[in-house]
C-alpha cells in the first residue's frame, strides 16, 4: 500500500508536470495572437497575417500536445485517487465540469476552425476564432486553478451525513480568496513563457539573418509583453501569493523559506542548504530581516518557524520544497533582469544590433519553463501531507483496490510515452522554426 501511494503520487507529479509545459505556452501565446489578428484586421498589408499564421502553428503544436497530455489528468482523479474523488467530488466536480463545459469545448472547437479555415473564411471569422481560443484557454486555467485553490484553501463546502463533502455555494467556490492572486500569478507566468519563446524565436532569426521583418515583430512584441508580465509576476502577484501562504498555510511558508526556528526580524535566505536533522541552513547567504519586512511590512515582526508546528504536520520533503521555491524565485528575478535589459535596449533602438543580448534572449528560453515548474512544485509539495488542506491526508485519498503493481505498470508506461512525446515535440518545434513563417514576397507559391 505504501509503495502504491508513492507510485500514485509520482504518476500524478509526472503527468501534471509534463502536461503543464504545453498549456503555459498556449495560454501565453493566446494573448499576443489576439493582438496579431487584430493588427491584421486593421492593417492594409499581409505582414501581421503571416505573423499570426506562424504563431498559430506553434500554438497548435503546443495545444495538440497539451490536449493529449491533459486527458490523463481528468481521468486520474478517478483512477488513482478514487477515495479523494468520492470525498471531494461534490465540490470539485463543479469546477472540473465547468472547465469541460465552458472552456475545453470552446478551445477544441475553435482551433479546428482556425487551422482548417485558413482559405475558407474571412479574416473576421479568424479573428473571432483567435479570441475564442484566448477566452477558452484562460477560462480553462481559471477553473483548474479554482479546483487547486480549493484544495489549498477549502471554502464553500459542507460535510454531508455520510462524511463526504458537498458544495454549498458555487459563487463562493469561484471567488475563493486564495484564487485571485493564484490566478493572476499563474497567468502572468504563462504570458512570460509565451513572450520568452516569441522573443527567442525572433532573436534566432535575427542572429541567423533570416525573416528579418518577422524577427523584429516577434522581438518587439515578446520584449514589451515579457517585460511587463515578468514584473507583474514578481510584484504584486508573486508577492501577494507568498503573503497569503503565510496567512493561510504558515507551515508551507516556513518550510520553503527554510525558516526552522521562529524569529523576530526573520531573514530571507538567498542561498544555502537546509539540514532537516539539525534544523539549520548550511552555508547561508541571507538578507537580514527581509522576510519579516516582506510578509508583515515590519522589520521586527515575528515570523513562525517550523519549530512551532508538530512534526507530523510538516511537508514530507522539505529540502525539495525549499529548492523549488528558491529556484522559482531566483529564476523569476533573472527573467525580470533579462527582459528589463532587452526593453531598455529596444527603447534605445539598439536591440536589433545587440548580438550579445539576442543570444541571451535566445538561451534564456528554458528558464520560464523551469520557473513555472518549480513554482508548481512549491505549491503542491508545500501542501503535503494534506491532499485537501486541513481536511484529507494524501495517504487517505488513493484508490483502495489499485495495487502497487498496477500503479507502477502505468507509471512506467507514462514515463516511456512522455519521453517519446517530449522528443517528438522538440523535434517538431525545431522543424517549424526552421521552416519559418511565409514571407509576404513568397506567399502564393506552393512548394513541397
Amino acid at each position: 500500500m505504501e509503495s502504491a501511494l508513492l507510485y500514485d503520487r509520482l504518476q500524478f507529479a509526472v503527468t501534471s508536470t509534463f502536461h503543464y509545459l504545453f498549456p503555459q505556452l498556449t495560454m501565453g501565446l493566446a494573448l499576443p495572437l489576439v493582438y496579431f489578428r487584430t493588427r491584421d484586421l486593421l492593417s492594409a498589408d499581409d505582414h501581421f497575417h503571416h505573423v499570426a499564421r506562424f504563431w498559430t502553428s506553434i500554438f497548435a503544436l503546443s495545444f495538440a500536445f497539451g490536449v493529449v497530455t491533459g486527458i490523463p489528468l481528468e481521468f486520474q482523479f478517478g483512477t488513482n485517487w478514487a477515495k479523494f474523488s468520492n470525498y471531494a467530488g461534490g465540490v470539485i466536480g463543479q469546477t472540473l465540469a465547468m472547465e469541460g463545459v465552458f472552456a475545453f469545448f470552446l478551445e477544441s472547437s475553435f482551433l479546428g476552425l482556425l487551422l482548417f479555415g485558413e482559405n475558407r473564411f474571412s479574416r473576421r471569422v479568424q479573428w473571432v476564432a483567435a479570441l475564442m481560443l484566448f477566452l477558452g484557454s484562460w477560462l480553462s486555467g481559471y477553473f483548474i486553478l479554482a479546483t487547486n485553490a480549493w484544495m489549498q484553501h477549502p471554502v464553500a463546502y459542507r460535510v454531508a451525513e455520510d462524511g463526504r463533502l458537498v458544495v454549498d455555494s458555487v459563487i463562493g467556490l469561484l471567488s475563493n480568496p486564495w484564487l485571485f492572486w493564484q490566478f493572476a500569478h499563474n497567468m502572468t507566468a504563462a504570458v512570460v513563457t509565451g513572450s520568452f519563446v516569441m522573443a527567442a524565436v525572433g532573436a534566432f532569426y535575427l542572429l541567423a539573418g533570416q525573416h528579418r521583418s518577422h524577427a523584429k515583430t516577434y522581438l518587439r512584441t515578446g520584449v514589451v509583453v515579457g517585460a511587463v508580465a515578468s514584473m507583474l509576476m514578481i510584484s504584486p502577484t508573486g508577492h501577494e501569493n507568498a503573503r497569503q501562504v503565510f496567512e493561510y498555510q504558515p507551515i508551507k511558508g516556513a518550510a520553503f523559506e527554510g525558516l526552522f526556528r521562529t524569529e523576530r526580524g526573520a531573514d530571507v535566505v538567498l542561498v544555502g542548504q537546509p539540514n532537516v536533522e539539525t534544523m539549520t541552513i548550511d552555508n547561508p547567504l541571507v538578507i537580514p530581516s527581509a522576510l519579516s519586512l516582506l510578509v508583515y511590512y515590519d522589520l521586527y515582526a515575528n515570523v513562525k518557524g517550523l519549530d512551532v508546528f508538530a512534526l507530523r504536520e510538516w511537508p514530507d520533503n522539505i529540502p525539495l520544497l525549499y529548492y523549488s521555491y528558491h529556484i522559482m524565485a531566483g529564476l523569476g528575478t533573472i527573467l525580470v533582469a533579462v527582459m528589463g535589459l532587452a526593453l531598455l535596449w529596444l527603447w534605445r533602438g539598439r536591440l536589433f544590433q545587440a548580438n550579445w543580448l539576442l543570444w541571451l534572449l535566445m538561451l534564456s528560453v528554458p528558464f520560464p519553463y523551469i520557473a513555472t515548474t518549480a513554482g508548481w512544485m512549491t505549491t503542491e509539495l508545500g501542501r503535503q501531507p494534506w491532499l485537501v488542506y486541513g481536511l484529507l491526508h494524501t495517504a487517505d485519498g488513493v484508490s483502495p483496490l489499485v495495487h502497487s503493481g498496477n500503479a507502477l505498470f502505468t507509471l512506467i508506461g507514462f514515463l516511456g510515452l512522455y519521453l517519446f512525446l517530449g522528443l517528438l515535440f522538440l523535434f517538431l518545434l525545431a522543424e517549424t522554426v526552421r521552416h519559418g513563417p511565409a514571407e509576404p514576397a513568397t506567399a502564393g507559391v506552393v512548394s513541397g
Binding site: 503544436l61 490523463p72 469545448f105 477544441s108 472547437s109 475558407r120 458537498v166 458544495v167 502505468t410
Partner: protein, 362 residues
C-alpha cells in the same frame, strides 16, 4: 434532479459515440478506402477540423459524471484502472496521429502515423464496446462501493469477471463493425470519386454485418442482464428507443441502396443513439450494477453529489450546453459538404510554407 443528471450523462455519452464514433470509423476505414497519399490527406481533412471538438464530449461526460455522481466516478474509474489508462494512451496516439501526420513531408513519417491512426482507432472501438459490455454485465462491487477487475480472467461473465469475456467481446466486435459502418457512411458523404465509391462499398458490406450483429446482440443483452427488462415492463414507452434503432437500421439499408449518403449517415447516427439510450433506459437508475449483491449497486441516488450542488449545476450546465450545441452546429455547418482537394482543407495545416494561392476576403 438525479434523473436529469443520469439523462445528461447518458446523452453526452451518446452524442460522443455518434460524433467521435465517425472519427474512429474513419480511422478504421482509411486503410481500406485510401490508397494514395492524396486520398489519405482527404480522409484526414474530412475529420480534421472537428475531431477535437468531438472528443471533448467524452472528457466533458466524464467530468459531468464526476460532478453529479462522484461515488460512481471514483468506483468506476479506479475499478477499470488498467483499461482506462490504456484508453488514455490510445487516445493520445490517435490525437497525435491526426495532428502530426501533416507536419513532415516524408513518406515514412506519414506511413507511421497512418498505421497509428488505424490501429488506435480500432483498439478504441474494441475497448469502448467492451466497456459498455462491462456496464451492462455488472462489476463485483464490495460493500464500500469499490471494485477492481482484471483485463481478463476466464472469459466468462460470472461473479468474478474480467473486463474481457465472451459477452463483452461480442459487444466489442459489434462496436468495431458499427463504428466502421458509421465512419464509412461519413466518408461517403464527405468525399467524391474513387474514395467515395470505396467508402460506399465498405458501408454496404458492414451494413449487412451490422444487421446480423444487432439481431444477435439484442437478445443476448437481456439474457446476460435480465434486470434491463424491468424498466421496459414498467414503462413500455421506452421501447420507442430500440425501435428507433431498428427503424434507422432498416432505413439505412434502403438509403445505402439508393446511394443517399447524407440520409444513410443520419440513419447510422440514429442507430447508435437509439441503441445506447435504449440500454441506458433499461439500466436506470443503476450506474454500476453489482454482480456480488444487488444492494451494492451504485445508483443515481446512492452515488449522488447532493441536492444543492446538482440544483446549482443544473442552471450553468443547461446554459453552457446550449451554447456549445449552438457553436458546434455552426462549425459543423461551416465545414459542411465534401472536402475539396484544392480548397486548403489539407491536413498540412501547419507548414507555413504551403500557402495555397488565395485572396482571403477582408
Amino acid at each position: 434532479m438525479e434523473t436529469f443528471w443520469f439523462g445528461a450523462v447518458t446523452l453526452m455519452l451518446a452524442v460522443y459515440v455518434v460524433l467521435d464514433g465517425y472519427d474512429f470509423g474513419v480511422g478504421m476505414v482509411s486503410p481500406l478506402v485510401a490508397r494514395t497519399d492524396e486520398d489519405r490527406r482527404l480522409v484526414l481533412a474530412a475529420i480534421g477540423p472537428v475531431w477535437s471538438g468531438n472528443e471533448v464530449w467524452l472528457i466533458a461526460a466524464g467530468a459531468v459524471l464526476f460532478l453529479a455522481f462522484p461515488k460512481a466516478y471514483a468506483a468506476g474509474f479506479s475499478g477499470f484502472y488498467l483499461a482506462l489508462i490504456i484508453v488514455l494512451w490510445l487516445l493520445m496516439g490517435r490525437g497525435l496521429a491526426i495532428e502530426l501526420r501533416g507536419h513532415l513531408d516524408h513518406p515514412l513519417w506519414r506511413q507511421f502515423w497512418d498505421v497509428v491512426f488505424a490501429v488506435t482507432s480500432a483498439l478504441l472501438a474494441v475497448v469502448f464496446g467492451a466497456a459498455l459490455g462491462n456496464l451492462v454485465r455488472g462489476v463485483p462491487l464490495n460493500a464500500e462501493g469499490y471494485f477492481f477487475v482484471a483485463l481478463w480472467t476466464n472469459f466468462l461473465p460470472g461473479p468474478e469477471p474480467g473486463i474481457l469475456d465472451w459477452f463483452t467481446l461480442l459487444l466489442a466486435l459489434t462496436s468495431v463493425v458499427l463504428l466502421t459502418l458509421h465512419g464509412a457512411n461519413f466518408l461517403a458523404m464527405k468525399t467524391m470519386n474513387e474514395v467515395q465509391a470505396r467508402a460506399r462499398r465498405v458501408a454496404r458490406l458492414t451494413g449487412y454485418a451490422t444487421v446480423l450483429l444487432v439481431a444477435s446482440v439484442l437478445p443476448v443483452l437481456s439474457l446476460v442482464q435480465p434486470s434491463l427488462r424491468l424498466n421496459y415492463d414498467a414503462h413500455p414507452i421506452g421501447y420507442a428507443l430500440p425501435l428507433i434503432a431498428l427503424a434507422a437500421l432498416t432505413a439505412m439499408q434502403v438509403f445505402r441502396a439508393q446511394e443517399r449518403d447524407v440520409a444513410a449517415f443520419t440513419s447510422s447516427s440514429l442507430l447508435l443513439f437509439g441503441l445506447l439510450t435504449g440500454i441506458a433506459w433499461g439500466s436506470y437508475p443503476n450506474i454500476l450494477i453489482a454482480t456480488t449483491d444487488p444492494a451494492h449497486s451504485l445508483t443515481a441516488t446512492t452515488a449522488s453529489a447532493g441536492s444543492y450542488g446538482l440544483q446549482a449545476a443544473f442552471w450553468w450546465f443547461t446554459i453552457g450546453l446550449t451554447v456549445i450545441i449552438a457553436y458546434q452546429v455552426w462549425i459543423h455547418s461551416l465545414f459542411w459538404g465534401p472536402v475539396k482537394p484544392e480548397s486548403g482543407d489539407s491536413s498540412d495545416h501547419y507548414s507555413a510554407r504551403k500557402i495555397v494561392p488565395s485572396s482571403p476576403t477582408k
